[in-house]
Amino acid sequence: METFLGLFRYEFFQNAFLASLFAAISCGIIGAYIVARRIVFISGGITHASFGGVGLAYYLGLNPILGAAVFGVFSALGIQYLSDKGNVREDSAIAIWWSLGMALGIIFVALTPGYAPNLMSFLFGNIVIVSHYDLLWMGVLAIFTIGFFILFFHTILFIAFDSEFAKANKLPVRLFNSILISLVALTIVLNIKVVGIILVISLLTIPQVTASLFTKDFKKMIAGSVIFGFIGSFNGLILSYYLDIPSGASIILALVLIYLIMWIIKRGINWRVKVKLEV
């Protein structure tokens, strides 16, 4: 067995390491927003709708990530528009869009003549085949997301918490919601390569739930999510290498294990505090 640090000699491992770092940053920040605003289901809909774009791009001979990005952003803005109007039963509309996207993707891929693309890597992800091109965009997204949240943190927070109050104070509620839901879509699409369409929602929720064991402050929740997300995806990557199992699944497993460990630690802290108080 190779030494752990020796792995960094390999280019694929360097790339995978950077991918897990960028994924942890964008998913940590955007996931905290998703969890705080309770739009996990909407995010699931965007994720699966984007598969339609993957299929269409294959059919047209374009980059599948580009197709997924276009589909993802449009479905995100569409869902946002419908919920703004408020006259559609939002959850059923999302469910239709969710399955329609998947169906379109499968149909387009089936119609594509000749080369049959590796669908498995889109459904379940593979962090070790992330390309330089993917990595570049993941890095750009991570940096943009950090910048956007640092510059506009309070505006984002106040609009997400009480949009009516924000509207009354003439904050650009619709503009910010549109930018943020587009960021949600881009984060999902660019991280599909890492854990796949089926599993990407976990990168957006498990680190956040872990962080919220320790804090109920949005800013700290973001920081905690990034840290737990990075520990999880990096350890998942190692696990995947040594046990020779798919990286997407091993990352999710690592994230859940971290959650369980943190839950036990939290219980331990609470129990000790309780004992102290009683003594």
């Binding site: 705080a36 309070h154 009354a168 104070n169 949005f218």
Partner: protein
């Protein structure tokens, strides 16, 4: 007396259903107006029209000397619509009251942080400063939102049903505090609990699609009927002739 808000011939409709029709109202400095009326009669819509939150079909809401109510008006919304589990601290909720007049890259000055702490102190909840809103009781939540409305020292304070979620003790405390605040600012208070607010407000507006302004806090059942303002009256024993009266 300085005029703060002037509503002229206001009509508001949701999907072809008219909620407010040809409403006229003036709110002057140091007014204390109680807004009463049946559920669905348009009380909240009237407030939202003042705050610029609903589309106006016809008429105007004017803030003499200002382009909008931003920075002049402090608002305490109904708390049902607030997500109590949202990860935000009490201190940040209160500071969000400073948003009017700031750029989108919100930063808070030392004075503003001090002012936020001062308001929390005055409301008796300074110890809750770092708590997430999810850990508060209904009464504490109301206080936090009142702090948010007051932190920017508004000229007009608007409260929508502030007595939901709270116990009787806090309710009377709240009304006493409003009486104090009324020495410095105008107050508009929406309530379904006519009997309780009557002794605190100075004037009454009955809202039921139309608005009838009643320039006193004593109102009789006959007047309510003539104002087309059927409201459930909580009475004890004999139904009194005068339903609202200074206690």
């Amino acid at each position: 007396m300085e005029k703060l808000v002037e509503i002229k011939n206001l009509t508001v409709a949701y999907e072809n259903q008219v909620v407010l029709e040809n409403v006229d109202l003036e709110i002057n400095d140091l007014d204390f107006l109680g807004v009463i009326g049946p559920n669905g009669g348009g009380k909240t819509t009237l407030l939202k029209a003042i705050l610029g939150l609903v589309k106006i079909q016809n008429g105007q809401v004017i803030f003499p000397g200002h382009t909008s109510g931003v920075g002049i008006v402090g608002y305490l919304p109904q708390l049902q619509k607030i997500d109590f589990k949202f990860p935000i601290t009490v201190f940040d909720v209160v500071r969000s009251g400073f948003v009017p007049g700031k750029s989108l890259m919100v930063r808070f000055s030392k004075e503003e942080n001090k002012r936020a702490d001062q308001v929390l102190e005055e409301m008796g909840i300074a110890h809750l400063r770092r708590k997430p809103v999810g850990e508060l009781s209904g009464g504490q939540m109301q206080r936090v939102f009142l702090c948010r409305a007051l932190v920017s020292s508004p000229r007009l304070l608007i409260l929508d049903e502030p007595n939901t979620y709270v116990d009787n003790k806090f309710e009377s405390e709240l009304y006493e505090r409003l009486r104090e605040l009324n020495k410095e600012m105008a107050i508009v208070l929406v309530s379904h609990d006519v009997g309780t607010i009557a002794s605190y407000v100075k004037t009454i507006a009955c809202v039921n699609r139309n608005l009838y302004y009643h320039p006193s806090n004593i109102i009789t059942a006959e007047q309510l009927t003539s104002y087309n303002c059927p409201i459930q009256l909580i009475t004890h024993g004999e139904i009194p002739h005068t339903v609202l009266h200074t206690h």
